[in-house]
C-alpha cells in the first residue's frame, strides 16, 4: 500500500520446473522480411525454390545496419504473405514449408576450439554481424554494434536475472545449456579483451546457482564470477543489475560501456556461442507459454518463424471459461499486447502469456505516494500525470519524465488502479 514496493508477485512456479519441450518443429515457418527496426529489405529466393537451414534468403536494411535473413528450416518456399510481427506491426514474410530433414547449408560448419582461440576481435565481431545476432532479451538491437564500441571494456556481465513475472525461458536455457553460456561469455571476453566475466542471477534461484557453480569448475582459469542478486523488480534492468553486481552506478543518459561494462542477455550469449562454434544463425529459442488462461503452461524450444497459434495449441489452448483474455508477448510488466494469436515468433519473443482479462476500476488519485516511493528511477509519476493533464511542458521537463524506463511499477502499485505508465508514455510523447 503506501510503501515502497519492490517485489512483484512472480508466478514463476507455474513453469520453472517443467522440462523444456524440444523438437517442436512447425510445419511451415514465417520468416519476417521487414521488422519494426528495419523497414527496407531485399529477397533473393522465389516461390518454389528449395532452401536449406542457414541459407541466406534476403537482407534487411535498418538504415545504420544491414542484416542478412536466414532460413531456419530446410524446405520449399511456399510464397510471400503478410503476417503480424510480435511488435504489433504487419510485416511481409516468406513462408517456407518444413521438410523435417534439417539439411544444413554448406556454410554451417563447426569451428574447432583452436581456431576460435586465435580469432581477433574483428573476426569475432564479423561472425556475429554475419549471423545476424541481436539482443534476445527483447530489444532486438544488433549485437555487433554493441560490441563495436570504442570504449575500453574490462567486465562483461551476463544478465540472467529474468525479473519479469511468469517468465522462465532464460531459466530453462541455463539449466539446459549451461556450457554454451560459459563458452559464449568466454568468446565475448576474448573479443573485448575483458579481464573478468560476471553472470548475474537471482539469489532465490538456488537450482540455477548450483548448475552454474558446477559448470564454473570447468572454467576456473577464465576469471568468471557468479553474482547473486536480490529478488526484486526491476533487477534485470541493466543499470540495476550493474549497480548490484559490480557496484558501478551508471547515471541516466549514459551507456554502461562508458564505465567499462558490457551487458549482454543470457540467451544472446548462447546465440553468440552457436554463431562462433557452429557458424549457425539464430534458428531456435526458448519460449515460455504461461498465464492463468493457458491450460498447460510450458517451456518450448522452437524454431524462429513458428506461429504462436501453434505453440498455444501445443499447450492445449486457452481455458474454456475465460471469455476475455490478454495475449502478451514478453513479460506482463513490459510486454506487448497483441490482438490476435496469429503472430510469428521472431528472435526476441521470450514468452507468450495469456492472462484472464481483469477489468480494473480506476478511482480518483488519493495521492498516497506509492508510485513515488516505488519508482526505480526516482521520478514522481503522480505529479507527472497531473502535469500532463494540465499540459504543462515546463513541469514535465523539471519532473524528468524522460528518465522513465516504463517498467510498469507505478501502475502496478497504484492504490487507485490508475494506469500511470500510460501517462508516462503520453508525457514523453508530449515533450517530443
Amino acid at each position: 500500500m503506501i510503501a515502497k514496493t519492490k517485489k512483484v508477485a512472480d508466478y514463476k512456479k507455474l513453469s520453472t520446473e517443467l522440462p523444456t519441450l524440444r523438437y517442436v518443429d512447425p510445419e511451415r515457418v514465417y520468416l519476417s522480411l521487414n521488422t519494426d527496426r528495419a523497414k527496407q529489405y531485399s529477397v533473393n529466393v522465389e516461390t518454389g525454390d528449395y532452401v536449406k537451414l542457414g541459407q541466406i534468403i534476403g537482407e534487411r536494411d535498418g538504415g545504420f545496419f544491414k542484416q542478412p535473413i536466414y532460413s531456419t528450416v530446410s524446405g520449399k518456399v511456399e510464397g510471400f504473405q503478410k503476417k503480424m510481427h510480435p511488435s504489433g506491426m504487419e510485416v511481409d514474410v516468406v513462408v517456407v514449408q518444413n521438410d523435417f530433414k534439417d539439411e544444413y547449408h554448406e556454410t554451417i560448419t563447426d569451428r574447432p576450439e583452436s581456431v576460435i582461440e586465435k580469432m581477433s576481435r574483428e573476426e569475432i565481431i564479423d561472425v556475429i554481424k554475419d549471423k545476424a545476432i541481436v539482443g534476445l532479451g527483447g530489444s532486438g538491437f544488433p549485437t555487433y554494434i554493441k560490441l563495436n564500441t570504442d570504449e575500453n571494456i574490462d567486465t562483461v556481465i551476463i544478465n540472467a536475472v529474468e525479473c519479469e513475472p511468469y517468465l522462465s525461458s532464460d531459466y530453462r536455457l541455463i539449466k539446459d545449456q549451461p556450457d554454451d553460456i560459459f563458452k559464449g561469455l568466454k568468446y565475448v571476453m576474448q573479443a573485448m579483451s575483458a579481464s573478468q566475466g560476471v553472470i548475474a542471477v537471482k539469489k532465490t534461484k538456488t537450482e540455477l546457482i548450483e548448475v552454474l557453480e558446477n559448470e564454473l569448475r570447468r572454467f576456473k582459469d577464465s576469471n568468471i564470477k557468479i553474482a547473486k542478486l536480490d529478488d526484486y523488480y526491476p533487477q534485470g534492468w541493466e543499470v540495476e543489475t550493474i549497480k548490484n553486481a559490480l557496484g558501478i552506478k551508471v547515471p541516466s543518459g549514459k551507456l554502461p560501456m562508458e564505465y567499462g561494462v558490457l551487458n549482454i542477455n543470457v540467451s544472446t550469449t548462447a546465440a553468440i556461442f552457436e554463431a562462433l562454434k557452429h557458424n549457425l544463425p539464430i534458428t531456435k529459442r526458448h519460449i515460455t507459454i504461461n498465464g492463468d488462461a493457458i491450460k498447460f503452461p510450458q517451456n518450448i524450444r522452437t524454431r524462429i518463424g513458428a506461429s504462436i497459434k501453434d505453440l498455444i495449441k501445443l499447450s492445449d489452448g486457452f481455458i474454456d471459461e475465460a471469455d476475455k483474455i490478454d495475449l502478451i508477448i514478453g513479460g506482463p510488466m513490459m510486454g506487448k499486447s497483441v490482438t490476435t494469436d496469429d503472430v510469428l515468433v521472431n528472435q526476441t519473443v521470450t514468452s507468450v502469456l495469456a492472462l484472464k482479462s481483469v477489468e480494473t476500476y480506476e478511482e480518483p488519485c488519493v495521492r498516497c505516494g506509492s508510485c513515488v516511493f516505488s519508482c526505480p528511477v526516482d521520478i514522481q509519476p503522480v505529479n507527472i500525470m497531473n502535469a500532463y493533464k494540465r499540459g504543462d511542458k515546463q513541469a514535465l521537463e523539471n519532473l524528468e519524465v524522460d528518465k522513465c524506463i516504463e517498467c510498469g511499477l507505478c501502475a502496478y502499485v497504484c492504490t487507485s488502479k490508475i494506469h500511470l505508465t500510460d501517462y508516462m508514455r503520453k508525457g514523453k510523447n508530449f515533450l517530443r
Partner: protein, 351 residues
Amino acid sequence: MEIIQKSAPHLRKPNASVVRMMSDVAIALSPLVIFAIYQHGMSAFWILLVSVLSMVGTEYLYYQIIDKMNGEKFKLNNKSFTIYNFSVVVSGLIYGLTLSDRVSLVVVAIGGIVGVFLAKLIFGGMGQNIFNIAAFARVFVVLSFGGAIAYDTFVDSDVGATVLGLLSADMFDASVTEHYSYWTMFSGIGLPGSLGETSALLILVGGLYLFLRKSFDIFVPLTYVGTVFVLSLAVMLTNDAGWWFPITHIIGGGLLFGAIFMATDPITQPTTRPGRIYFAFGLGVITFIIRIFGDLPEGVVFAILIMNMFVPAIDYHKWARNKFTFRSATIFSLVVIVTIILTVVGVNYVG
C-alpha cells in the same frame, strides 16, 4: 472468447485499493468510537452518528443534484457517490471524534454539511480537496460556535479543565500532573477533552494497525510527534521544567489523534518522502507555537489546515525530489536548528 488489447503493465498489485485503505482507517478508529461511547454515554453516540450522517447525506444529495443538472436519470445508487470506499464515512468519524461531548447536535450537523461541501465537494470531490475535511469542519465549528462547543478553555466545574487548558493558563504549571496522572492521560479514562483524543493508548493501537497494514505513511506521525517532542524538550532543558512537560505535550492533547488520523490523510499530504517530512515538521512547529504563544490551548487542527496550504508549494516541480540530496538535507537541518533556537529564545524572552 475475445482477445483484448491493453498496454503494459498487465499485472496490478492485488491488495492495493482505496477501499482497503479507507476501511482500514475506519477499523483503526473503531476502538476510539467504542471508548468515546463508554466514556461519554449516548451523547457521544448521537454526535458521531450526526457527524457521519451529515457528511454522507450532504455528499449524496450533492451528487444527485449534479446528476440531475447534467440531465441524467435518477438512480438510487449514484455513481460518483464515494460511500463505497468509506472516504466520507472516515471524514465524518474523524470530525465527530474531534468534538466535545457537549456540542449540540444542530451545530454538529451544520459543521458536517458545511465542512464536506466547502472543503471537499466544491473542489471536485474525492482526491481533489486541498484541506483536510475533518479539520476544516472542526475549525468551522470552533470559529462559528465558540460558545456552544465548550472548547477546552471552557472550564467545566464538574469535569475540570483539560490538560492543555490548564497549561494554557500557566505554561509551566507542574501541578497538571497532580490533576491527572500519567496513566489517566495515557489511557484516557476520566480525562476531559474531545471524544476521540483522550485515549493515547487506543490511538496508538489504531496507528499500529494502520502501520502494519501499510495504510498510512508512518513517517508523518513520527516526524510530527518527534518535532513537538524535540521542541518541548528544548524548552524543558532551558527552563528546568521536568519530564512532565514534553510528556503532557505529547499525550495530553489532541496531538496523537491529529498526527495519526488527520495529518496522514494522503490526499492533503505532499507526495514525496522529503516533502512529507517537511510537511510533518511544519505541523509540529506550528502546533507547538500555537500551544505556547497562541491564545488557544490546542493547535493541531489549525496546524493541519495551515500546512495543507503549503502542500502544492512543497510538491512544486522545481524542487520536489524523491530523495534527500546533500543540499536539501543540509538546508533542512539548518532550519531545524534555527527553529529550536527561535523557540527557546521566544519562550524565555518574549512569551
